[in-house]
């Protein structure tokens, strides 16, 4: 398709972008120090790695609280409401259509940033995987205070198991997530959007009502 069919859309607000890249930094540090604590390699040294992991983990908890506030006060939570509509079309697209040069069945718009697969993935991530990771991480960190907190019947072993499983799941997400950023109309289109906030998308795409997370119109340049 030709370039004049493209329009610039302001997709990601400043806070959203900041939150995304802050997450990236925190998760990167957590993964690196976490796997060192798991005994995989020596980078910072066990003691330092644990200190960094604890510090960054607690910082993450605070940062996440701001995200929760943001997602609810801005109504952005609606972007995460799962749907099955067009899901098969999206799956078909990534398994087949993408190789044929077809257009994406659910293009991005300000009021509908996520396709059905993304909605489900990000919901699972933000509402399930990350909270589990935060809860088990916090428990792990507070192990010595369990009796003061009245926590019984949980073993460190179980907490460690879940936390470790979560870590693997997040790693797997990151691999796929980073790859998926290359599937925009150029390899770095999505990455650029997450840095500047603006993404080039196709013109004249009808947004179904069910897709809409926002009432207002398009933010066009």
């Amino acid at each position: 398709m030709s370039e004049d069919k493209m329009i610039n859309v302001y997709l990601y607000t400043r806070y959203e972008r900041f939150w995304h890249w802050l997450q990236m930094v925190l998760i990167f540090l957590l993964i690196v120090t976490g796997f060192e604590g798991h005994g995989l390699y020596t980078l910072f040294g066990f003691e330092r790695a644990v200190e960094i992991h604890n510090f960054v983990g607690l910082a993450w908890l605070i940062a996440f609280a701001f995200f929760v506030f943001w997602v609810f006060t801005t109504g952005e939570w609606k972007q995460y409401v799962p749907t099955t509509k067009k899901m098969l079309a999206v799956i078909r697209y990534y398994l087949y259509g993408i190789f044929r040069g077809e257009s994406h069945p659910v293009p991005k718009r300000k009021e509908s940033k996520h396709n059905p697969i993304q909605r489900l993935t990000y919901l699972a991530l933000a509402a399930l995987l990350l909270p589990i990771q935060m809860a088990t991480g916090f428990l792990y960190w507070g192990y010595n205070s369990w009796s003061d907190w009245g926590i019984t019947g949980v073993s460190l072993e179980l907490v460690a198991f879940v936390h470790m499983a979560g870590a693997f799941a997040i790693c797997s997400f990151i691999i796929v997530h980073v790859y998926m950023t290359t599937t925009g109309h150029t390899i770095f289109a999505h990455t650029k959007a997450m840095i500047t906030g603006w993404e080039e998308v196709e013109k004249d795409v009808k947004i179904e009502d069910w897709e809409r997370a926002r009432g207002e119109g398009l933010s066009l340049r």
Binding site: E51, T183, I195
Partner: protein, 543 residues
């Protein structure tokens, strides 16, 4: 333009966040050295008055300015002022050599039925060579020798000294009389130079237990007499200069700290909780949270003894004995007993003792320990198919009084009765002792007779182990055991302790395999998908 501005804004924001994190964690590291750590602060307070003072000068006491012809006379002079000292001291384990036992049927202690895997037994105090360390003039029969612990003069061989004195003083030869005079002067020097026990006093027995320097304890040997801070951070002459009694506080001659069947103390109280508590536990001065507040090390103190991290190795200056195999004893060269030395200059073979192994800078072994040690007696039945634990620490992870504690484990082989399945206590010294006769049958028969216990006549050797809690030779904080030495997958110091999940050491094998499979699967998936896009030159693939 707007886009570039956005990029710059974003970069600036991200970088400042990263900087913030790095700076705050770096500041935490710098603080470590300057911040007042509560435990160190308390310990400093407890040791504030470094000068030891006394209100008396024993050389000025009339009772001590007389001619002493016997040990008993010296004791009499001491007791003429310290009227209760003898009755107090005779109750203590230093005199009785009997340890209290939870099981009253057991007569534990050196003078009782307890055994070890060094010289094995005192044979009910009938092996006279053991009595060399008993603080009486004639072992338990007779008066107390106060000077062993209290005289600050040179150590003396009192039996010889009095023998010589009597021999020379009865002579008509003026030269010999003069010698007798000199001997009496050295006696008086010892008698009049009195004080609280020093490292040297305590060390005269405790550094040489088992028949030589550093034989028994790995953390107590002659190197502690005048240690530097590197060897012991409390006793170091270039530091706090602690004497033993600084921590081994004493009430009525009962010295705190003996670990036998009962813990040295059951309380882990600090001096701010109870200013009269014995100072024997690290917690007494350092509290239970001695590290910088918020430090992970403070979280360890409920399960890990201070000693486990703060004594990285024992026997750091002098070697200590790690192995003693009695079964090899009795070999002779040209019909004569002989000795050989190892590279450390220590005997690795002695005909009358057997084969020995010595080591320096030994990493301790770690066990759960609640302060009690279970020691076998000569009456206990053993299972010779396994290594027999002549003494073993008592404790478990579930016990709130237990901590992971470092031990020296001394191993060896010693004789046991093949019929009665008990360990045997050979008589070693004296006319009938093994060291004179090299006859096991006779030594074992005589040795067991001393206990009035049967010996079947059939014996063999069994491998045994014996434990010593490691608590001295506390290293400066720069030299403590690093986290990774325990929290590591392989060869960690705590590899033998099971029943709990330890981060860094333990993992879930299956989940690790599954987890990596998922990660590798994801990688393969995206690589294949990406290649697919390149080859089909599909939408946006190749650009």
């Amino acid at each position: 333009m707007k886009q570039i501005k956005g990029v710059l804004q974003f970069l600036y924001l991200t970088m400042s966040i990263c900087l913030l994190f790095i700076l705050t964690s770096a500041a935490g590291a710098n603080q470590k050295d300057t911040e007042q750590v509560p435990g160190r602060f308390m310990a400093r307070q407890a040791t504030k008055a470094k000068t030891v003072w006394s209100t008396t000068d024993h050389s000025k006491h009339k009772a001590l300015q007389q001619e002493f012809k016997s040990g008993a006379a010296i004791t009499g002079a001491c007791l003429s002022c310290h009227s209760e000292a003898a009755s107090q001291f005779r109750q203590t384990i230093h005199w009785t050599w009997l340890g209290g036992s939870a099981d009253s049927a057991k007569r534990s202690g050196k003078a009782g039925d307890s055994l070890n895997n060094f010289c094995i037994s005192t044979n009910n105090m009938q092996d006279k060579s053991c009595s060399a360390c008993h603080p009486g003039w004639n072992a338990k029969d007779g008066e107390i020798n106060c000077l062993v612990c209290h005289s600050q003069a040179e150590e003396m061989n009192w039996t010889e000294t009095f023998e010589d004195f009597h021999a020379f003083s009865g002579s008509g030869d003026p030269e010999e009389l003069e010698l007798a005079q000199e001997i009496q002067e050295s006696i008086l020097k010892s008698v009049q130079n009195i004080g609280r026990p020093t490292r040297k006093n305590c060390g005269s027995c405790h550094f040489y237990g088992g028949g030589g320097d550093g034989v028994k304890h790995g953390d107590l040997d002659s190197s502690i007499t005048n240690p530097n801070k590197d060897l012991d951070v409390h006793m170091g002459l270039d530091g706090q200069k602690f004497e033993c009694v600084r921590c081994h506080t004493t009430v009525n001659h009962n010295v705190a700290g003996r670990i036998y069947s009962k813990p040295a103390t059951t309380d882990r109280k600090s001096l701010i909780e109870d200013d009269l508590t014995p100072k024997i536990m690290c917690e007494s001065c350092h509290s239970a949270t001695p590290h910088k507040s918020g430090s992970k090390a403070n979280d360890h103190t409920d399960k890990v003894a201070c000693q486990s991290c703060h004594i990285p190795q024992f026997a750091r200056v002098n070697p200590t004995k790690m192995w003693w195999d009695w079964s090899k004893a009795g070999k002779k060269k040209k019909g004569k007993p002989y000795k050989t030395k190892d590279s450390l200059g220590k005997y690795d073979y002695m005909s009358h003792k057997g084969e020995m192994k010595w080591a320096k800078n030994v990493k301790p072994e770690y066990f759960w320990f609640n302060g009690s040690i279970n020691t076998l007696t000569v009456k206990d039945v053993i299972d010779p198919r396994n290594v027999v634990q002549v003494s073993a620490p008592v404790g478990s992870r579930e016990d709130i009084n237990s901590r992971i504690f470092p031990f020296k484990v001394h191993r060896g082989k010693q004789p046991y009765d093949k019929v009665h399945k008990t360990l045997l206590a050979p008589l070693l010294s004296g006319k009938d002792g093994y060291w004179n006769t090299f006859d096991w049958q006779k030594a074992l028969t005589k040795g067991m007779q001393a206990f009035d216990l049967p010996f079947s006549g059939q014996f063999d050797y069994v491998e045994t182990s014996y434990v010593f809690p490691t608590t001295h030779m506390v290293a400066p904080k720069e030299n403590v055991v690093n986290c990774i030495e325990c929290h590591s997958r392989e060869n960690g110091r705590l590899a033998n302790l099971s029943g709990f999940y330890m981060p860094g050491r333990d993992s879930f094998k299956l989940m690790d395999i599954f987890g990596w499979a998922v990660i590798i699967g994801s990688l393969c998936g995206v690589v294949l998908h990406g290649l697919g896009r390149v080859f089909t030159n599909g939408r946006r693939g190749g650009k």
